[in-house]
């Protein structure tokens, strides 16, 4: 065969890729050879190929191609995840450019637009992977929202709920006041911000004088339910148990003491605002304090905020400062540099917000499945490089409950069904929910039930990927493929997915 004088990749690459596909060389069916299975960590359906993907997929391809040549039944399963928040943000933006607002659409109408978007723009990344030479079995391409995988997610939710591993609870979550949804820790991007620290006077009720409190968020003062000092701080020891008045609001609140308070920060006195700070929330819970939520879900002052009701939180901050100053309650203002969390998708400043959401009970989950940690620690699942085992352990030992609900429409809708009076049952369908209600003596028909409007975190579908791509989820599933291909061989992924200690249960391995 004649070769051209110079190697010309463009001539060669398209030719051989088509050849491999025509000859079905990357397709795999169970047979009597040993399987070598790799499932692609599903990229976002909105994604485009970047350097990280190229590296990651080159590595997977090297492993899979070598295995194929060594006589294994190599099976590399491609696909994408539906990227709930990223896709919804893109669709909202596209609609906005056409003069359509999401709030003017019904859920069904919006989802029609979203599917159209997905069919038109989604999955480009898979085409790009072909250019790289990836030897995936494209006949197996999956999508986390396709019907059978959708059903798998619903079944898993119902199953975990029945087992008591999922609960509905009121907790502090990351809230995006612009996107109007909760966010995972990973979707919150911290940036250093030049801010101000305001020193505010809290006048004593049962003692002479004032306490000086340093805060960066004077607009939340209306939500104060206590002030807190460190018990070891001699400056304030005699005041513990006495009371101060919340500035401008005039509510009497106690002076409490907790080790959490940093004596060095500001004046050593912290205002306790359980509705708007995770640490305050914890102190509030410990001292059984009231929660006063002074913000609305879109980041304005709520009725409970008393002053500047309806005003945007950052405008309200300026007004609060003015009023404090006018009333002689502002001692001084310092420059203050600190880290502030922004929403990855909307870039809005994220609010810690108390909200009723669905959670996976991580403590019970881990107690039931100790292998999740032990398998990695004892090399049953081997980590390369090994040093990341410690990161993993740290993560698992400090994990918080996993908030799995999102206030979005694009995703797997939570299979919880509510009666008009607010009782709910978890079931795959409204009909099944009705029989569960009936068993409790509540007689309702499916049309009287309202399904939970929220969808599930994308990872709540992707965590099933190595099982779900072989259709192994749910009762009566045909297990022949799963039994052959599972457990898979290698997962190739970036290190950043282990990056967040004290994380929220999305163990993305």
């Amino acid at each position: 065969m004649e070769l051209s004088a110079k190697y010309n990749p463009a001539e060669v690459e398209g030719k051989w890729y088509s050849y491999w596909l025509e000859q079905k060389m990357f397709e795999s069916k169970p047979d009597d050879r040993k399987p070598y299975t790799v499932v692609i960590p599903p990229p976002n359906v909105t994604g485009v190929l970047h350097m990280g993907h190229m590296l990651n997929n080159t590595i997977q391809d090297v492993l899979v191609r070598r295995a194929r040549m060594r006589g294994y039944n190599a099976c590399w399963v491609p696909g994408t995840d539906h990227a709930s928040i990223a896709t919804e943000a893109k669709v909202v933006k596209l609609l906005a450019s056409q003069g359509i607002q999401k709030r003017d659409l019904s859920r069904e109408e919006f989802l029609t637009h979203a599917w159209e978007w997905k069919e038109k723009y989604g999955g480009i990344i898979l085409e790009q992977l072909k250019k790289l030479g990836s030897s995936c079995d494209w006949s197996r391409t999956r999508f986390t929202m396709e019907p059978s995988l959708y059903k798998a997610v619903v079944d898993v939710f119902v199953d975990l709920y029945k087992k008591g591993l999922i609960y509905r609870g009121t907790k502090m979550v990351n809230w995006d006041p612009q996107g109007l949804t909760t966010l995972s820790d990973e979707e919150v991007i911290f940036r250093e911000i030049q801010d101000k620290l305001y020193y505010v006077k809290y006048v004593g009720v049962d003692f002479e004088g004032t306490l000086l409190v340093a805060t960066a968020r004077p607009e939340t003062i209306a939500g104060d339910v206590a002030v807190c000092v460190n018990p070891a701080d001699e400056r304030y020891a005699s005041l513990i148990g006495k009371h101060v008045r919340v500035p401008l609001i005039n509510r009497e609140v106690p002076i409490i003491a907790d080790d959490y308070i940093d004596i060095e920060f500001g004046t050593g006195v912290l205002k306790v605002t359980p509705a708007h700070d995770i640490h305050d929330y914890e102190i509030g819970a410990k001292f059984n304090l009231k929660v006063i939520d002074t913000l609305t879900e879109d980041g304005r002052i709520s009725e409970a905020g008393e002053l500047f009701v309806g005003m945007d939180r950052f405008e309200a901050r300026k007004e609060w400062v003015k009023q404090l100053d006018a009333n002689g309650l502002l001692e001084k203002v310092d420059d203050y540099t600190h880290n502030v969390g922004f929403s990855e998708r909307t870039d809005a400043v994220v609010e810690p917000r108390i909200s009723t959401q669905w959670f996976v009970d991580m403590k019970s989950f881990m107690a039931k499945n100790p292998e999740v940690l032990s398998s990695v620690m004892n090399d049953e699942v081997r980590f390369f490089p090994e040093k990341l085992k410690n990161t993993y352990r740290h993560w698992m030992e400090n994990v918080r409950d996993w908030n799995i609900s999102r206030q979005l429409w694009w995703g797997h809708r939570i299979p919880a069904w509510y009666t008009a009076s607010g009782e709910f049952e978890v079931a795959a369908t409204a009909e099944e929910a009705c029989s569960l209600f009936a068993a409790k003596g509540i007689s309702v028909s499916p049309s009287e039930l309202e399904q939970d409007p929220d969808v599930l975190d994308t990872w709540f579908s992707s965590w099933l990927w190595p099982i779900s791509v072989f259709d192994g989820i749910g009762e009566g599933a045909d297990r022949s493929e799963l039994d052959y291909y599972y457990p898979t061989q290698d997962l190739v992924t970036g290190p950043d997915i282990l990056g967040s200690p004290n994380g929220d249960g999305r163990i993305r391995v």
């Binding site: 970047h50 191609r65 060594r70 391995v509």
Partner: protein, 368 residues
């Protein structure tokens, strides 16, 4: 996935998790859209070809460490593609004849076989540890240095001569092994060459051909003949002797260590090697290749003082090295805790260094 695996299947979801590094730019900054330091992936493929991009990425991606991306590594990938391409074309241009294989051809084949086997066996270890970067670098060196710079040079027919059919077939057989070993890394160019090797009709495509396995029987090179060749080339360069002028050299030591490659050495270095002659040449420059002392005869007067200074310098370097080895071997903790054959290898180093020193001592005496 681990959580879901145990909860729903009662089994782990995968055997291994390989964490890649994060890709950063040359200044160690994370790649991001806002910094504008993230190259357009598809544009790179268009410019350099997918194989070059894959290779460039892997070469800068040691397992688990951050990756400092530099476009020059992709250029290196492209150059490597061109190197293989040109090597293949070179072999294709030779016109083999039905003659018995020449000794130097057979010796070069045996030499390359040893290098190939060693590389494949090292790579099995690298693959088991997910050290794809190391495995690829190994193959890169095998192709660039061992195959192209040595093996093809060694079997290249002299002007007016032709390669034997046997040697030519062997070269193509090696090519087939190399192309298959490289295929997982560089699938496109290897498929093209593999088809070409089989006149467009291989039994199986490269993508599903057998991966070359490291054979159990390893041929070890006690002394790499190429160290001798490169020393001889150094002598030429230093003394300004033309490559066309045939050298005569006396070799002292165990001839069996190198006898399997004597024709290859003679051809590559254009030298007549005389083993253990009764007398030492009067005017000669000397060096050590492993434990073998070589004296290259010169047809002109040698600068004796300069030669002596050079030998003394080498001796003091070896003495320093020996000190380090002795210190290790005298350290009881090291000897007690060392894994495998580490101690054995240190003893071998000690022995070899002593032999070399002894040789140099002799050379120094001979110079007077």
């Amino acid at each position: 996935m681990v959580m879901a695996g145990y909860e729903f299947e009662g089994k782990k979801p995968f055997e291994n998790v390989y964490f890649t590094g994060l890709i950063r730019d040359k200044q160690r900054r994370k790649m991001s859209k806002s910094l504008g330091n993230s190259p357009d992936a598809l544009e790179l493929i268009e410019r350099f070809g997918a194989d070059a991009v894959r290779m460039g990425l892997l070469l800068c991606a040691p397992a688990g460490n951050d990756i400092l991306f530099d476009e020059s590594q992709i250029e290196q990938g492209r150059n490597f593609c061109n190197k293989i391409w040109n090597a293949y074309r070179l072999v294709g241009m030779w016109e083999p004849v039905e003659i018995q294989a020449r000794p130097y051809e057979s010796e070069a084949s045996a030499w390359f076989q040893a290098r190939l086997t060693a590389t494949l066996s090292e790579n099995e270890y690298h693959f088991a540890q997910f050290r794809l970067s190391d495995a690829l670098m190994n193959l890169y060196k095998l192709v660039w240095d061992d195959f192209c710079s040595v093996y093809l040079e060694a079997i290249k027919p002299a002007y007016g001569e032709q390669i034997s059919k046997e040697a030519w077939n062997q070269a193509r057989a090696f090519f087939s092994l190399i192309v298959r070993a490289l295929h997982p890394f560089m699938p496109f160019i290897t498929e093209e060459l593999y088809h070409s090797l089989h006149d467009g009709h291989p039994d199986k495509a490269c993508a599903i051909a057998d991966y070359p396995e490291a054979s159990a029987s390893q041929i070890s090179l006690k002394i790499d003949p190429m160290t001798l060749v490169s020393e001889l080339r150094n002598v030429r360069a230093q003394k300004g002797i033309s490559p066309k002028e045939k050298l005569t050299a006396a070799a002292f030591g165990d001839q069996d260590l190198l006898s399997a490659y004597s024709q290859m050495i003679q051809k590559m270095a254009n030298v007549d090697l005389i083993w253990n002659p009764g007398h030492r040449p009067a005017s000669a420059v000397s060096f050590l290749a492993g434990t073998i002392e070589v004296l290259v005869e010169l047809n002109f007067e040698l600068d004796v003082e300069a030669e002596k200074a050079k030998i003394q310098q080498e001796m003091s370097r070896l003495q320093g090295f020996l000190k380090g080895v002795n210190a290790k071997l005298n350290n009881e903790k090291f000897v007690a805790n060392a894994q495998g054959d580490v101690v054995e290898r240190e003893r071998q180093k000690q022995q070899d260094t002593l032999t070399k020193l002894q040789n140099l001592e002799g050379q120094l005496k001979a110079l007077g």
